[in-house]
Structure formats: C-alpha cells, structure tokens
Amino acid sequence: MSLADSLSGRYRSHVAELTGALDANDESAFRSAFERLRGQLNVEFNPELKRITADAQSALRRFREQARLEVLADQEVPDARRRLAHVVKLTEEAAHRTLDLVDQSTPLIDRMSLEAAQLLEEWGLHGSRQLAVATLWPERAYESLERAVRDAERVRRFLSQMLLAQGYQDLSGQIINAVIRLVTELEMMLGQLVVLANGDETRRMPVLKLDEMQQAASEISRGVGPQVPGAASGEALGSQDDIDALIASIAAGN
C-alpha cells in the first residue's frame, strides 16, 4: 500500500494542520484546515454515496414500474377483503337456507312415517276385512295417503330448493379463485421487495408476468366473476329483469 493510499498518508497532514491551528488558537487556520479535510472526505466518499443512491433509486423505480403496489394497496386488497366477506355471507346464507329447508321437511317426513306406521299397525292387529267393515279405517287411510302425497310433493320442492342453494359454491369459488390470484401476485411482489431491502443484487425472484395477468384480468370476454357489493366493478345489471330488458332491447334493435 503506497503512502498516498494509506490512512496516514491521506489524513496525517490534515490532522497536523488542525492540531497546529488548535495549538495556535487560530480559528481561521482551523476552519481552513477543517474545510480541506472535509473536501478530502467528499472526494473519497461522494462517488460511493452517489452510486449507492443511484442504485437504490433505480431499484425503487424498477419496483414501482413493475409492481402495481399502489393499485393493490389502495384498491385491490380492500376489494379482496370485501370479496371474502361476501363469501362468508354467501356461505352463511346458503347454510341457513339449507338448514331451514331441512327443518321444514323433517315434520312432514315424520308425519308420513307416523301415520303409515299407525295404519300398518292397525292393519296387522285387525285385518283388512274387519277394518273395512267395522271402522272408519278406510277413510282415515285415504286421508292419510292424500296427506302423504301432498307432503311428499312439498318435501320434493324443499329438496329442489336445497339443490339450488348449493349454487353458492360456484359463486364463492369464483370469488376465492380471484383472491388467490391476487395473493399470488402480492406474494411475488413482497419477495421482490425483500430482495430490494436486502440489497442482494445476485438474488432474483421469479419474473412475474404482470402484463399477462393484467391483460387476462381486464379482458372482458374471459369474464370478471360475480358482482360483489361494495367491490370495484363496472356497470353491472342488478336483476334478471334488467338483463331480460337489455337483451330484448338489443333484439328489437337488430
């Protein structure tokens, strides 16, 4: 290491000047020596500081350009929260609907079962001929069978409604799939952020093809999923009647 490169070579003369000025109590000479020392420090450290600053700015700029962090933070994450809350509501409603229908079906089935059991018991005890001649059994049996037909039809309707209530799974599944895509995107961005924070230029996260994802998400023909109250969406029609009216108006215009 040459004299010019060593710590002593670079700073001894500055320290000597400062010490001399202090010893002489010469403030002007001290300030001059101090400025020269500061100049020397600037010469040595400025390029390194500039490089570090430029790297950081460049990395942040790259990150901002690639990532949709602001959009995600401002809009899509709150939207995802609303979407998941809507899923909770959908599943809760479907569960209650199904349980209500079970509650409505159970007494009907119980009555059918009880009456059939009573009729069978009486049939077994007395025999058909005696019952037919001596009692009101035929009328009761007829009424019971009539009730059974009505009750069975009601239970069938309830079962049909239970079937339909399971449609929540399709809607909630679409919403959850969209949130999974968002979480995946966030995960990759956070990974990139960690790389930036660590300053590890040799590590590279997998390249996220944001453009493709964005394109796919915005492409209307692929579909955008169910409407969620409070979540960002375009102009959506609220009811089947609105849709019927729109289609009818288009058909009339053709």
């Binding site: 079937l163 809607l171 579909g223």
Partner: protein, 129 residues
C-alpha cells in the same frame, strides 16, 4: 322434441353442473351431458347431435363467450339454442353475448322457475321460426 332433448351443460364448477342437471331432471330432461369448459364442450357438440347448450361464461380454457362464437361460426352447429347461465352481469358483457347470438341469458344465482322459463321461451321461439 322437448323432453327428449339432448342437452350439454358446460360449467367449470362440478357443483353447478350437478345443480343444473338436477333441475333439468326435475323439468323432465334426462339426456344430459356435462363438460367443464369450451375446449371440452366443442368436440362433444361437433360429434354429439345436441339439441340445446347451457353454458357458463367465466371458465378456464375456453370461456363461454368464445364457445358461443365458435358454435355460431360452425355451419353445423350455428342454429343450436345457447343459454348462458352465468354470474357475469356487466352491461357490456350482456350486450356482447347478445350480439354474439346468445339465445337466452340467466344470471346466477337463479331460480328453477327462471331456468324453466328461459328454456321454454327459447324452445317456443325456435318452434315458431
């Protein structure tokens, strides 16, 4: 033809296919085939002599709108009744589906009565044509 109709139900969610199939069974339609997106549906349609297509919109692979366009562009399938059964409710989507030639559009969640009404309406207009 109605109750002997051969119907293809296309939806990526198996639960929804089961629901639609169950409702169609209740309406008296027994000959029902399922597919999970447009890519699997199209070959079935081309080889299967189907009378009616019920399709979701938002599906991986080929979405319902592309399936509708492919059906309308096919010389053999062009007149096939297509009912869109979907959660997609944006105005521009419905306009696009209508312009692509959809026969009916039912928004999820739907009722059995709505499904029946739309199928009956499509079949009536087909019979009148």
């Amino acid at each position: 033809m109605s109750n002997n109709m051969k119907i293809l139900v296309v939806d990526d969610f198996s639960t929804m296919r089961r629901i639609v199939k169950g409702l169609l069974n209740e309406l008296g339609y027994a000959d029902i085939t399922e597919a999970d997106d447009g890519n699997t549906a199209l070959p079935l349609l081309k080889n299967g002599a189907f009378d009616f297509l019920i399709t979701d919109w938002n599906m991986p692979g080929m979405p319902g709108l592309d399936l509708l366009k492919a059906v309308r562009a096919d010389a053999k399938l062009g007149k096939l009744p297509v009912l869109m059964l979907t959660a997609e409710a944006k105005r521009e989507q419905i306009i696009e589906a209508a312009q692509a030639g959809v026969s009916g559009y039912v928004i999820k969640p739907f009722t059995a009565a709505t499904l029946k009404e739309k199928i009956d309406k499509i079949l009536a207009s087909k019979a009148a044509a």
